[in-house]
């Protein structure tokens, strides 16, 4: 077998093992920790009978190992259990929400990834000159504010202040003003339903996309800049320059093949980050996705829902990291052409 296939197979097996271990950890996190789940759901004033009933319903009267395997067995068959709070099937409630979450993350990624790589390239091209410094200063600011606060800052300035500003611009004709107001409208609530067309949906999530883009952009830009600088400063690039090769040729045959792996890695890590960042942003914009569902049920102490959401988020996160690993193996010229 080609050594590279072996490596990829190893990574895949490792990823599956990791997801399995993560499921144990998530389960343990909600059941072995100090604190009686039934007690904390029902509160201090619960009667002993109600507590006993709830424990039986949760299966708390069985040993944790049995409960874990019952749960895992169900999950593997697509049965995530039922929510304690409303008795609905979790898998059913989750499917449309997972779709919404991925929809939001997808559009944020479509905008953020090319932008981050372009800005990273600009920062490298003008290293230590003003474009680089401006980009660094802006990204330092955006990573120093929590995501949800960036969300509210944008709501305040774009959906509240901007229309007022446009209204107050006396020199514009009424027609222009009307056009601006109609087209620069940023909704502070991201509605989403099946009857909306794709364009309407995207318009509705403009602000969340902007917030996520800003947040991910900063991380991705910084990492891209570091990755490209790392390649451009290596000895073989200097050799190629000294040989008198043209800039294009250097980039095409020397820099690019070696830069793909780190850049793809950066992109994947940030996509993973994006999927988690979505959680908080969904709450800010009341977006009907998985993150809001999770947060809602954490405060309601609905353990089965939390376990299911936790497992799905962890799986997506581990999966994206796994893809990053595999891509960097596949694109590594040293591994592709073993001696």
């Amino acid at each position: 077998m080609h050594p590279i296939l072996l490596l990829v197979a190893q990574r895949l097996a490792l990823g599956l093992l990791l997801i399995f271990a993560a499921s144990i950890l998530i389960f343990a996190g909600t059941s072995i920790l100090p604190g009686d789940v039934a007690q904390s759901i029902l509160g201090q004033s619960a009667t002993p009978q109600a507590l006993a009933n709830l424990r039986a319903e949760l299966g708390m009267d069985q040993p944790p190992v049995t409960r874990y395997f019952n749960w895992l067995g169900g999950v593997l068959q697509g049965d995530l259990g039922t929510a304690l709070t409303n008795g609905r099937d979790i898998a059913e409630s989750l499917s449309s929400r997972l779709g919404n979450t991925l929809f939001l993350a997808f559009w944020a990624a479509i905008i953020a990834v090319p932008l981050a790589i372009a800005l990273g390239l600009i920062a490298v091209r003008y290293k230590d000159r003003w474009p680089d410094k401006v980009i660094s200063a802006v990204t330092l600011t955006t990573i120093s504010i929590p995501e949800f606060m960036i969300g509210y800052l944008l709501i305040f300035f774009l959906s509240i202040q901007l229309p007022q500003l446009i209204m107050s611009l006396e020199f514009l004709s009424d027609g222009v003003r009307g056009w601006l107001l109609a087209n620069l409208r940023f909704s502070s609530v991201a509605m989403m339903n099946d009857s909306m067309s794709l364009v309407e949906k995207i318009k509705s999530i403009t602000l969340p996309i902007m917030v996520l883009t800003l947040v991910v952009l900063a991380h991705m830009m910084r990492m891209t800049r570091a990755a490209i600088l790392n390649v451009m400063q290596s000895a073989y690039i200097e050799t190629a320059e000294l040989k008198g090769l043209g800039m294009l040729r250097i980039i095409r045959t020397h820099a690019f093949p070696n830069a793909i792996a780190p850049i793809v890695n950066v992109v994947m890590l940030n996509l993973a980050y994006l999927v988690v960042g979505v959680v908080v942003i969904e709450v800010v914009f009341a977006y009907p996705g998985m993150g809001q569902y999770l947060v809602d049920h954490v405060s309601k102490r609905d353990v089965p829902v939390v376990q299911a959401c936790g497992l799905i988020f962890a799986t997506v996160y581990i999966g994206l990291n796994l893809v990053a690993d595999i891509v960097s193996i596949l694109t590594n010229p040293r591994l592709r052409h073993p001696k």
């Binding site: 120093s144 929590p146 995501e147 709450v283 947060v295 996160y317």
Partner: protein
Amino acid sequence: MRIPLAALIGLIFTALFFGAALFAPLIAPYGMAEIVGDVWEPPSDRFPLGTDSIGRDLLSRLVYGGQTTIFIATAATALSFVVGSVLGFFAAVSGGWIDQTLSRFIDLIMSIPTLIFALVVLSVTPTKIPILIVLMGLLDSTRVYRLARAVAVDITVMDYVEAARLRGEGTLWIIFRETLPNALSPLIAEMGLRFIFAVLFVSTLSFLGLGVQPPQADWGGIVKENKEGINYGIQAALYPAYAIALLCISINLVADWILGRTTSLKGGRG
């Protein structure tokens, strides 16, 4: 020693924030949960930043909120450093299966996003400040562990550690007398970044309603309490964002300077 301008600005603002947190009762014009005016009053002489959603003085809330947020973040950072660095040094000095087991376990915890893990645990634990601190500290200690172990592995192969081992010193002696002093500077720079992360993290949890509980003030909670006001053009919810940004940027500037100093002094290693 000359301190560069950026680092000096960072140091001054960091000191101001910590000073305000320490002396919050002296600085805040009103009590933390005292209702003193109308709902969302605009800034005036009586209320420099206006009032909040139920008529408490916003400046006082902000000062006390800073105290809570900075206290929790400091405690969590301290805990993560004690746990992370002791375990990291222990793994590096011991080596072998102890190192392998610990490192793989830490890898596993890091494979689940921190926020998701915290949410899972918070769904069954009561939301009290000590629990928040322990949870944040332990989750973040994984990052410290990685750094501490990486630095300590380099130190452990040094001659002076070898000499200490041959003298018959115990593992603990080596950790505290040989490894720790030599690993201190990169760890201190990392401490700044972990502190920033803790501030952002506790604010996020409080914003989600899973961190500090009202009437206790904290920066994330102030956003949650006043977010409705934004739709009426009231800035109350945005002040914590400015405070957090200023604090985090200041600490970043200081951490950058410390990191730059240690790398240039000791050739990339602390």
